[in-house]
């Protein structure tokens, strides 16, 4: 959990993924399209990946990846991100966290 929090606070937009996860690929694409450059951490390539996954599940992220943090705060999984994007909140959050400027 600490590692997750630690990594999440390091950049305005942080996404925890797995290299084999295609939904993660979709969310990454969405962020890029919005002009954000999120920090990507692949759990399957991290030594404490399993603990991190467990921690993410503990936050209520199901499936555990992709797990999105904006401004250090946990936003949610793919479903939450899409919902927030549709109602315009995602862009606002990114702007607030200075991940994007317009």
């Amino acid at each position: 959990m600490d590692r997750v929090r630690d990594l999440a606070s390091k950049k305005a937009a942080v996404i925890f993924t797995k290299s084999s996860c295609c939904m993660c690929y979709s969310i990454k694409t969405l962020f890029y399209e919005l002009g954000a450059s999120p920090a990507i951490h692949e759990l399957d390539h991290d030594p404490s990946g399993r603990d991190m996954e467990w921690a993410l599940r503990g936050l209520g992220c199901d499936p555990s990846v992709p797990a999105v943090f904006i401004g250090g705060r946990f936003v949610g999984s793919a479903k939450d991100v899409i919902s927030l994007h549709v109602d315009g909140s995602l862009k606002q959050m990114l702007m607030d966290a200075k991940a994007i400027w317009f």
């Binding site: 939904m23 694409t29 969405l30 793919a78 479903k79 899409i82 994007h85 549709v86 109602d87």
Partner: protein
């Protein structure tokens, strides 16, 4: 009249038509009695006898047939048959025919009938079968030009006449000329009875057919209803495949039911909009439509667990809809593009909101599409890697199984994509509702429904198009 069976040739039948009398089926028993009472007795015996022998047909037969047919002599000989029924008593229905009340002279004048041979009669009668088949009736009318009355009773009674004629024909030789004696009376009565029984049998048969037909319709309806309730009714009785096919079929059934309900709700909405209902009332209906949309997304979510490929295939939609299929459903961004023009006038804020919504849904759709592409690529890579050589068989098997396991895992993520696509659709509808006023939302929902209805109608037309 005349030979109704295959055995009698056309020639015979023509002769028969000329000679034979046909009777109006409506003719009542009472009439014959009246006839008997008022007219037949008045015939001079000799005349009657001549008539008998030459025609091979008895007046009493005619009478006995309980008004079986129409006197066809008019057609045969070109003479008019006067329907002077009042003399006859209670001829209640088609009075066009029976004119036995006329004097014997009239009867005699119809003696072109004498052409009819006894043998002809016999052959006709013996060949005659009692049935009410359509073919029989079809045979009857054109060939012999009998009664204008298409009553099938007539035909059945003709069968009786057939039997009757057989009896009569065999008898004719020893019959005395004073024919209206007890024997005749008895025969008349027997024939009447036979005819009556025949009619009753036919009636019973027809009723049985009708009730069977009704039952069949009811059973079909029950079956349909049971199918709609998701009960798996396998026509082949193969229950082992029940679970496999059930997911797809169950969803199809649920979707059909959802569509019906959707139609109903939309009609309600349309009525509300057209009748300029108040905002509060409209909001209730609009909310119910949106809740109903939530329902289909829920159903699709369940179906994705059971059979994701069925949803992806779009086979649960009509062909034209399938044309626009994206990740198992419609594209929200496209829908919004269609709506903007129909929703005017929009406020500045609304225009901005709708435009942003369109852009957001487009971006999300692109993201999901790219994710799907990545999945496809990953899947093909998984299935295509592996040694083509035959060395190290155990290693190959392990590889193969490993690959399959990985591929299975990737396939499993398809469900997630469908779910997110539906999530996108649902969120787009909700956001649209937030941006628009109640009335605008109502019109938007109507427009969406009408668009898809037209696509479905187009599909029907397409499927029914004439092909060379």
């Amino acid at each position: 009249m005349g030979g109704r069976t295959a055995r009698t040739g056309v020639k015979d039948e023509k002769k028969a038509a000329k000679g034979m009398w046909s009777f109006d089926s409506q003719f009542q028993v009472t009439n014959t009695l009246c006839i008997k009472g008022s007219t037949i007795h008045s015939f001079p015996v000799s005349d009657f006898g001549i008539f008998n022998q030459s025609v091979g047909f008895r007046i009493e037969d005619a009478a006995t047939l309980s008004g079986n047919a129409v006197f066809n002599s008019a057609k045969a000989s070109g003479q008019a048959v006067s329907p002077d029924c009042n003399h006859i008593g209670t001829l209640d229905k088609t009075p066009t025919s029976f004119a036995i009340n006329r004097s014997a002279t009239q009867v005699e004048s119809r003696l072109p009938l004498e052409k009819v041979q006894q043998t002809n009669l016999v052959s006709i009668s013996s060949g005659y079968t009692e049935n009410w088949g359509e073919s029989n009736m079809a045979d009857a009318s054109p060939k012999t030009d009998i009664s204008t009355d298409a009553d099938t009773d007539e035909k059945s009674q003709r069968s009786d006449r057939g039997k009757l004629n057989a009896v009569v024909a065999s008898d004719s030789s020893d019959r005395s000329k004073g024919s209206l004696d007890q024997k005749t009376l008895r025969r008349l009565a027997q024939n009447r009875e036979a005819a009556r029984k025949s009619r009753l049998r036919k009636k019973a048969y027809v009723q049985q057919l009708e009730s069977s037909r009704l039952k069949l319709t009811q059973l079909e309806q029950e079956l349909q209803r049971a199918r709609q309730q998701g009960i798996f009714i396998s026509s082949a009785g193969d229950q082992s495949h029940a679970m496999g096919g059930n997911g797809a079929m169950a969803f199809d059934v649920e979707y059909a039911r959802w569509l019906e309900e959707q139609n109903r709700l939309i009609n309600e909405l349309r009525t509300g909009v057209n009748s300029h209902a108040g905002d509060a009332e409209l909001r209730i209906i609009v909310d119910s439509v949106l809740v109903h949309y939530d329902e289909i997304f829920r159903l699709k979510s369940n179906a994705a667990k059971a059979d994701v490929f069925h949803l992806l295939s779009g086979m649960w939609k009509t062909p034209a809809e399938r044309c626009f299929l994206w990740l198992g459903g419609f594209r929200s961004s496209e829908l919004l593009k269609l709506l903007v023009s129909q929703l005017e006038p929009l406020t500045e804020q609304q225009l901005v909101g709708i435009s942003n919504l369109q852009q957001s849904s487009q971006q999300a759709e692109d993201a999901l599409s790219q994710g799907m592409e990545a999945l496809q690529q990953s899947l093909s890579e998984t299935l295509s890697t592996g040694s083509l050589g035959s060395s190290g068989s155990s290693g190959n098997v392990a590889n193969y199984m490993g690959q399959m396991a990985m591929a299975m895992g990737k396939l499993g993520t398809l469900e997630g994509f469908i779910r997110q696509a539906d999530n996108l659709r649902q969120q787009t509808l909700q956001q649209m509702h937030r941006i628009l006023t109640t009335r605008q939302s109502a019109r938007a929902l109507l427009a969406i429904h009408d668009y898809f209805s037209r696509l479905r109608a187009l599909s029907s037309l397409w499927l029914a198009r004439p092909r060379e």
